[in-house]
């Protein structure tokens, strides 16, 4: 409405398209201000406000489901009629699927946090502000289609996350946040260097223009371009916690409040992954053979290192449950990278759909597992005999763990792995398929040990009936219900794995 005159100078903004990430941003400011005026006893309202905002934000995804919205487009000029219109923000099915994951994941995390904020006496206003700000960045990222906004969105997702990790006041948080911060900043610097190389070689920041320009780069700039593509991807690989950028994960997860660890493992990962997939597939596709192989090696290393790390967790160590989930999330990041590598290698961008589908499945079951960890304890030993104390929570946990392992009755977890396998078999990368198969079995071991522990007879069965807060029950029930529904009808999420998601 404001943008009527001079279309060549002023971009028109499709507010509906950007509403889903915009709502958390606006809400973040509201929460920050409201925090000043709310008496301490009423601070819990902020959490419910956040939950409501995220639900609204999710609802705003519905009108976009056609996948045709795009905005912040370069005004087309007569002289450049042959150049397609480049847009910075595209709400295609790829973006929508990741926004669904990010916002839905944030919603579950928010439900979990309502309890944690209270119990750990975290500063409520700051916590909810940071969570919403980071969510806004993570939701923005998958829709961004130029390198500048991608980097900005990535930073918007990361910076509040450092602070979130540091919020815990028992001293562990500070160290974890510092580790996270220093390694992340280094990765960002490397990414920016890569972006500048790519810009120098291609003359544009828009992914579609880069894709058009890269095959025609002059010979002397070829090495620069190759280095630039790899460096650009490094920063995003860091966010997905791929090896060798994984070392911050276990300490950070153990140091952060448990819901924040869940947030990092799903939403943070989704953000990095969506950026990586968009840049690699849309921008650098002509170099697919190079980064495809690099990503494949990275994926193989990541899943192996993650699984070995998870295997080494001792049940009686403090925070062993969170650490195990942290290492296993490193391994799962490896599986998530596999289809992207296959997309580069096998020339079909459709493979990325497998990553999206698997990421959604992983998001649901992993947050479900974190929900149980939030309520049942952060040490693996505390799960011994959980079934006799809290049967519902134990059954839910068993379901989530079997899904993570990919074993029936966790049908959706199994099919999540099947689509990934299918992508890699399709691309003809037999060796990666075999490495992944071995890794899946290694992972089964520790998930099964944990599952078996739930049903062991408790050493000293003290039936302590603690009332579990409603928000926690809600989050658990939501995740479990989603898992069951998806297991009965996997088509709901698996349809993402067929056909192209990019509009």
């Amino acid at each position: 409405m404001l943008t009527v005159a001079a279309p060549s100078l002023i971009q028109s903004v499709d507010w509906a398209a950007i509403a889903p990430p915009l709502v958390p941003a606006a809400l973040a400011l509201v929460v920050l201000v409201a925090d000043l005026f709310l008496p301490p006893a009423r601070k819990a309202l902020l959490g419910w406000l956040t939950v409501a905002g995220l639900v609204a934000s999710l609802a705003l995804l519905v009108p976009l489901r056609g996948g045709h919205h795009r905005t912040f487009c370069l005004p087309s000029q007569a002289a450049q009629a042959h150049v397609p219109v480049s847009c910075s923000y595209v709400a295609d099915h790829f973006a929508l699927a990741f926004q669904l994951l990010v916002l839905g994941g944030a919603l579950l995390v928010a439900l979990l946090s309502i309890v944690s904020v209270d119990e750990d006496r975290l500063p409520a206003g700051e916590f909810w502000f940071l969570l919403l700000a980071s969510t806004c960045g993570a939701a923005l990222l998958p829709a961004c289609r130029d390198l500048a906004s991608l980097v900005v969105a990535l930073e918007l997702a990361s910076l509040p996350a450092f602070a979130l990790v540091a919020l815990r006041r028992d001293g562990r948080g500070g160290e974890a946040a510092l580790k996270f911060f220093l390694s992340s900043v280094t990765a960002t610097a490397v990414t920016l260097l890569g972006v500048s190389f790519v810009y120098a070689a291609s003359g544009s920041l828009y992914l579609d223009r880069i894709a058009a320009a890269l095959p025609n780069v002059p010979d002397q700039l070829q090495p620069l371009t190759a280095v630039g593509t790899v460096l650009t991807l490094v920063g995003f690989a860091f966010k997905t916690a791929a090896v060798p950028f994984h070392f911050w994960v276990p300490d950070t997860y153990a140091g952060a409040p448990v819901p924040v660890a869940g947030y990092l493992s799903v939403v943070g990962k989704a953000a990095g992954l969506s950026g990586l997939a968009a840049i690699a597939v849309l921008g650098f596709h002509s170099y697919g053979r190079d980064w495809g192989l690099a990503l494949a090696v990275l994926a193989a290393l990541t899943m192996t290192v993650g699984n070995v790390g998870a295997l080494r967790q001792r049940a009686d160590a403090p925070y062993s449950a969170v650490r195990l989930l942290a290492w296993s999330s490193v391994a799962q990041a490896g599986y998530l990278l596999v289809p992207i590598a296959a997309a580069g290698y096998g020339a079909s961008a459709h493979a990325v759909g497998a990553t999206v589908a698997f990421a959604l499945v992983y998001g649901v079951v992993n947050l479900g597992a974190f929900a149980v960890v939030t309520s049942a304890g952060a040490r693996l030993d505390e799960y011994r005999g959980l079934f006799s104390r809290r049967p519902a929570a134990a059954l839910a946990m068993a379901f989530f763990l079997l899904n993570l392992a990919g074993l029936p009755p966790g049908v959706i977890g199994l099919f999540g792995k099947v689509v990934v396998f299918r992508a890699v078999v399709d691309a003809g990368m037999g060796w990666l398929a075999v490495i992944m198969a071995v890794n899946v079995v290694i992972a089964l071991y520790y998930y099964l040990v944990w599952t078996a522990r739930l049903f062991q007879s408790a050493p000293d069965a003290v039936a302590t009936r603690r009332r579990v807060p409603g928000a926690l029950v809600g989050a658990l029930a939501l995740a479990a219900a989603l898992g069951v529904v998806l297991s009965v009808d996997p088509q709901i999420v698996m349809q993402l794995a067929s056909g192209s998601l990019f509009g």
């Binding site: 049967p391 059954l395 079997l402 074993l407 029936p408 009755p409 049908v411 199994l414 099919f415 099947v418 689509v419 396998f421 299918r422 078999v425 399709d426 398929a433 075999v434 198969a437 071995v438 899946v440 079995v441 089964l444 071991y445 099964l448 078996a452 049903f455 996997p490 088509q491 698996m494 349809q495 993402l496 794995a497 067929s498």
Partner: protein
């Protein structure tokens, strides 16, 4: 038919879900399990009665609807002459196990959990034999793992934890590779539909692809079967498992592996099977000899051999015959394999029940403790518990392949097929394999007769260690008789009237092999 088959699959699944209701606790859960598996058996019998015996090569009771269109997975189930006997066997054995558990549930967990796991296991086993979609087959194949794992790990005997883990990890490693093979097969052939793949007979799949598929899928099936050298999980799992678990493990789970060979690999990748058949046959024969020799060493006085472990090893040998029959790629051999599948399911199921009963009475299945370590001492079951002793002797001679009982025809046909293997397979190789397998039957007879001598015979006055501790023991009880009678009857029926089964399988096998 269609509704019957769907109900057969849905009933145990619904039953398993129902056990989540806490009100269904205690003995009520066990009765519930009996009711559900009993109803399922009735459905299976009705299915068999409604089966059109004139067209056993045609899939009957077919349901084929899209389930996950994105992955091209269809909910496609049906039953033909190959799967029908296995479905009935599965329903029968689960019902008998539920009945047996009513009286003899080992301690370890709640009755509700046991029933739930048993029903979930039933769902997976029945589904494996009924589904006609590769990915669905894989799913069904995996469903059985978690319940069986918990059955061993919770209700098992000594050393159950490691044994359960060994079982599940071995099988999973195999099935992860199998999944890759199934995906290669489905993606290269453009369909995951097993009937379509079977109708194609490998058309459009290069020899190299077929070999890769057979290797990958074969490893998964071979672990399950189990084929030597992938068998090492089996003896531990059997020794540790509770009686019902052992019965289902030997009676049904092992068959899922050999069924996969017949249903998936033989029709879909004939070239690959043809190339690798001699190796399969060789491994099978090594398994036969290895299994029998292992049993012979266990049965020696002073070897401290466990009876359950012995029967587990004998399963390795018997499944070797099944695999040998499959490796011949002839109608005779494959028919023999399918017959031996059923025969082994009945006989070994019975044997595990009997050994479980012995173990329950004496508290041990250790041969030396039961029979004394001397060369001519024995547990003297004939004298002390004549009915149990008689049944054990019956099962043992059935297992060694006495003509007129179920164990005979399968092994005979497998060897016959090996005498005249499919065109293009090296006849001298297979004749050699046949001779070695024949040697295996002799060894099998040797150890099983030794078992009979050491357990059933002996001087009732002389008291070996375990016997001395348990003076007055009851012979076969009512519930035991009820559980075992069907197996005994079917063993005799299948032995005297093999045409009953062979008439079902022959046309279907011919269709799968691509002949006539």
């Amino acid at each position: 038919m269609t509704a019957l088959l769907l109900a057969l699959l849905a009933l145990p699944l619904a039953g398993a879900a129902a056990t989540l209701v806490p009100a269904l606790g205690g003995r009520r859960a066990l009765w519930f399990g009996v009711a559900v598996t009993g109803a399922d058996l009735a459905l299976a019998v009705a299915l068999a009665a409604g089966f059109d015996l004139h067209r056993p090569a045609v899939m009957q009771g077919v349901t084929n609807v899209a389930w996950i269109p994105a992955l091209n997975v269809r909910f496609h189930v049906g039953v033909d002459g190959i799967s029908l006997p296995l479905l009935v066997l599965t329903a029968l054995l689960t019902f008998l196990c539920a009945l047996y558990s009513l009286k003899k549930l080992p301690s370890g967990g709640s009755e509700r959990a046991w029933t739930g796991l048993l029903l979930l296991l039933t769902t997976g086993m029945l589904a494996t034999f009924a589904v006609l979609d590769l990915l669905l087959f894989f799913l069904a194949f995996e469903i059985v793992l978690v319940p069986m794992y918990f059955m061993i790990a919770r209700w098992g005997g000594e050393n159950r934890g490691p044994a359960a883990f060994r079982f599940i990890l071995y099988t999973l490693l195999g099935s992860a590779v199998m999944l890759l093979g199934l995906l290669v097969l489905g993606l290269k052939a453009g369909t995951f539909d097993m009937t379509a793949l079977a109708a194609n007979h490998g058309l459009g799949l290069s020899r190299g692809t077929q070999i890769i598929v057979v290797l990958a899928v074969g490893v998964g099936l071979a672990v399950k079967s189990p084929m030597w050298p992938f068998h090492s999980w089996l003896p531990d799992a059997h020794t540790a498992a509770p009686t019902a678990g052992s019965v289902l493990l030997a009676g049904v789970l092992l068959k899922m592996g050999t069924y996969g060979f017949v249903r998936v690999l033989i029709p879909s990748t004939p070239l690959g099977m043809h190339t690798l058949a001699p190796y399969l046959g060789a491994f099978a024969v090594v398994g036969i000899l290895y299994g029998s020799l292992a049993c012979l060493s266990l049965v020696r006085p002073g070897a401290k051999g466990d009876l359950k472990r012995l029967i587990a090893y004998s399963s390795v040998g018997h499944m070797g015959f099944v695999l040998l029959g499959i490796a011949t790629l002839t109608a005779t051999g494959v028919n023999g394999a399918l017959f031996a599948n059923i025969g082994h399911g009945l006989i070994t199921g019975l044997l595990f029940f009997l050994v479980g009963a012995v173990k329950d009475r004496y508290g041990t299945a250790d041969l030396d403790a039961l029979a004394g370590a001397g060369a001519d001492t024995g547990a003297a079951l004939y004298g002390r518990l004549p009915r149990l002793g008689g049944l054990l002797a019956f099962a043992a001679v059935a297992s060694l392949g006495l003509p007129g009982l179920a164990g005979f025809w399968g092994e005979l046909l497998a060897m016959l097929g090996s005498f005249q293997p499919a065109a293009g397979l090296s006849r001298p190789t297979f004749v050699t394999l046949m001779v070695l397998a024949g040697l295996g039957t002799v060894l099998t007879a040797a150890y099983l007769l030794s078992v009979v001598r050491r357990v059933c015979m002996g001087d009732p006055a002389a008291e070996p260690p375990a016997v001395a501790k348990a003076p007055a023991l009851a012979d076969v009880q009512g519930y035991e008789a009820a559980t075992w009678t069907p197996l005994v009857v079917l063993t005799v029926v299948a032995g005297l009237w093999p045409a009953l089964l062979l008439g079902l399988t022959t046309p279907a096998v011919k269709a799968l092999l691509g002949g006539s």
